[in-house]
């Protein structure tokens, strides 16, 4: 891939993100109207179903947000390094498969051992799933876009095979596994809701990724290679292939964790269609966040609401659930278009000043920290 496909530092991310949300709402609303639905009713259903009550917020929106945040972080890490990992979906499945496998066989173990073992297995499986495209890119020069997508299909079919074959539940009726051992499950974070400790884990990973990118030497190398492989290698003397491989594996591990956490925290089992395409939604999550890990927490929750609200929309306003993918596509396209408009300087003056303010406030990793006191709006 060429350098700089996505800006390393997305300038004015708030302008782009805000504009994208606005554009999406407008287009999606218009499309609903054209389809003969009532956008107001749909929006009301969406709001009620996602943030209308504490239980909706905690049990629906945030629970849905967990795999989206984690896979969004996976995509953000890869994209920041210039690795076009479209394979978070497959890596997520790989993580879910490994997590379930460990969780099923962890019956005798104490929770202190079983849960970490299951989650680590998820990470390793996700990384292994990313290793093949990573090696194909760095050793053979085969672009990772196609290979990661192909690996997605392989993972989905493999999961389908497992739940109908070797790992099928003991009665042998349904295409799913038995429930994993209690010891390998994530506990409830907020009593009385379905929000599990996976959410805290996701926040932790986001914080870690943010600090890694802004403060550490390895994180700097990752950003440098992503921003300009040629300058990173020639001026920085950085081994770009190592960085790419590392970013690819980390991305795979985090995506795998998303699968493991979903299994350990929500489903307790593996079945076909476990992920409704989170690995692809993750691209929208990461892009809307301007590839900033902390912002992924926000955009992940937003998309969690979108997915959580889809069933309410279908129930109350009759809007087909497949609609959600279309809205996600609108978000990605609006982000891309607005980013282009801003970069080519054809945006309105309003956008430009808004962007500068946003840059000063929303930058979480611009080589930040003790030296990062940006003069706001300079």
């Amino acid at each position: 891939m060429s350098e700089g496909l996505v800006p390393q530092r997305v300038r004015g991310p708030l302008f782009v993100a805000g504009g994208a949300v606005l554009a999406t709402v407008l287009v999606a609303g218009l499309a609903l109207l054209l389809g003969g639905f009532d956008p107001g009713q749909a929006a009301a259903a969406m709001v009620r179903g996602t943030v209308g009550s504490p239980s909706a917020l905690l049990s629906v929106t945030l629970v849905r947000a967990v795999p989206l945040i984690l896979s969004g972080l996976a995509v953000a890490i890869a994209f920041r390094a210039g690795v076009w990992n479209i394979g978070a979906e497959g890596q997520l499945y790989a993580g879910a498969m490994a997590g379930v496998w460990v969780g099923l066989s962890a019956g005798g173990l104490p929770a202190l051992l079983a849960l970490p073992a299951a989650l680590i297995a998820s990470c390793v499986a996700g990384a292994v799933w990313a290793l093949i495209p990573a090696l194909m890119r760095t050793r053979l020069g085969v672009g990772e876009v196609i290979t990661t997508i192909l690996m997605n299909f392989v993972a989905i079919h493999l999961a389908s095979y497992l739940v109908r074959g070797p790992l099928q539940e003991s009665r042998g009726v349904f295409p799913q596994t038995d429930a994993i051992a209690e010891a390998a499950r994530l506990g409830v974070l907020v009593p009385g809701t379905r929000l599990h400790w996976g959410f805290a884990l996701a926040v932790l990973v986001a914080l870690g990724a943010s600090l890694f990118l802004s403060r550490t030497r390895a994180g700097f190398r990752l950003r440098a290679v992503g921003a300009s492989p040629s300058a990173a290698q020639v001026a920085g003397g950085i081994d770009a292939r190592r960085v790419w491989t590392g970013a690819f594996l980390s991305s795979g591990a985090v995506a795998g964790l998303a699968g493991g956490v979903e299994v350990a925290g929500v489903t307790y089992a593996l079945y076909e269609g476990l992920s409704p395409g989170w690995g692809y939604t993750a691209i929208a999550v990461a892009l809307l966040a301007g590839l900033s890990p902390l912002a992924v927490l926000v955009t992940g929750a937003l998309f969690g609401a979108l997915e959580g609200g889809a069933s309410a929309m279908q129930r109350e306003a009759g809007v087909p659930s497949a609609w959600v993918s279309f809205v996600q596509a609108l978000v990605i396209l609006s982000v891309l278009a607005l980013d282009r408009l801003r970069r080519t300087g054809t945006t309105l003056a309003l956008g430009r000043s808004g962007g500068d303010v946003a840059e000063a406030s929303a930058e979480d990793d611009g080589s930040g920290g003790e030296i990062g006191e940006r003069s706001g709006g300079a």
Binding site: V142, V145, T147, L150, H157, P320, A329, L336, L341
Partner: protein
Amino acid sequence: MTLADLTLFLEASVRLGVPLALAAMGEAVAERSGVINIGVEGSIISGALAGAMGALWLGGALPAVLVGALGGALVAGIFAAFAVGLGTDQIITGTAVTLGGLGLTGAIYQARFGATGTALTLPTLASVPVPGLSGLPVVGTALFDQAPTAYVAYALAPALWYFLFKTEWGLELRATGEDPEAASAAGVRVRWMRFWATVFGGALAGVAGAHLALAHAGTFAENMSAGRGFIAIAVVVLGRWNPPLVLAAALLFGAASALQFLMQALGLDLPYQLFLAFPYLLTLAALAGWVGRARAPSSLAMPWPKDES
């Protein structure tokens, strides 16, 4: 294995290979102009839905193929408006277009025909035997007793080769994909070229989708494109961006997908999911073994004009 099994296997290979071939040859043209359209999957599914609805409205399968082409071209046009017109990143734009195509077709289908998915029955694209050729032993029915869209694929392979390598337009298109800077300086309208190459590719993907709905299934189903767009992109690499080779590679992958029928006929009891995964694995292996010797257009996936500064 009997001769009938082999004939059945070859017939299935061609039937499964044709939509790949159509989409991949279209994608090859787009990629020769420097545009990698990951959204080809979106074009296929849109072509399938447009073809299905066209068949219902028009009552005939053959004109519905053209509606399918239009649907695929429209989606590719949206992709090109962003990726070529605005210069957004091709990979991400394509991913979004695929996502949106799958979502919108699913939503339209659910809204129009109900979410329960009572199978839609469509007028089908009947096989048209080619007089004489279809009587050839073994390969006759496989190659020459197929839907008309298959013959479109056969005809396009040499036609597109001629266009790319023997015409001035083809030369300009290839130059655009190799070095848009130089092509522009030589007077080629780079973005115009890329836009229409992409739309043409989308139209072929739309035909592929219509073929799926009308010749394969006789119905529309959500996500029925089933990743064929992505395989098509890999097939382009294996066919080295050269239409006749792309056709051959697509038929090879049709055969890989048809293996399950052969295995069933042979009475081998292997889990069918493995056969579903096989074409993807084969594609990965082929990419690993092949790409070292293939060379993509130099400016593939590079936006043009480049940013200043």
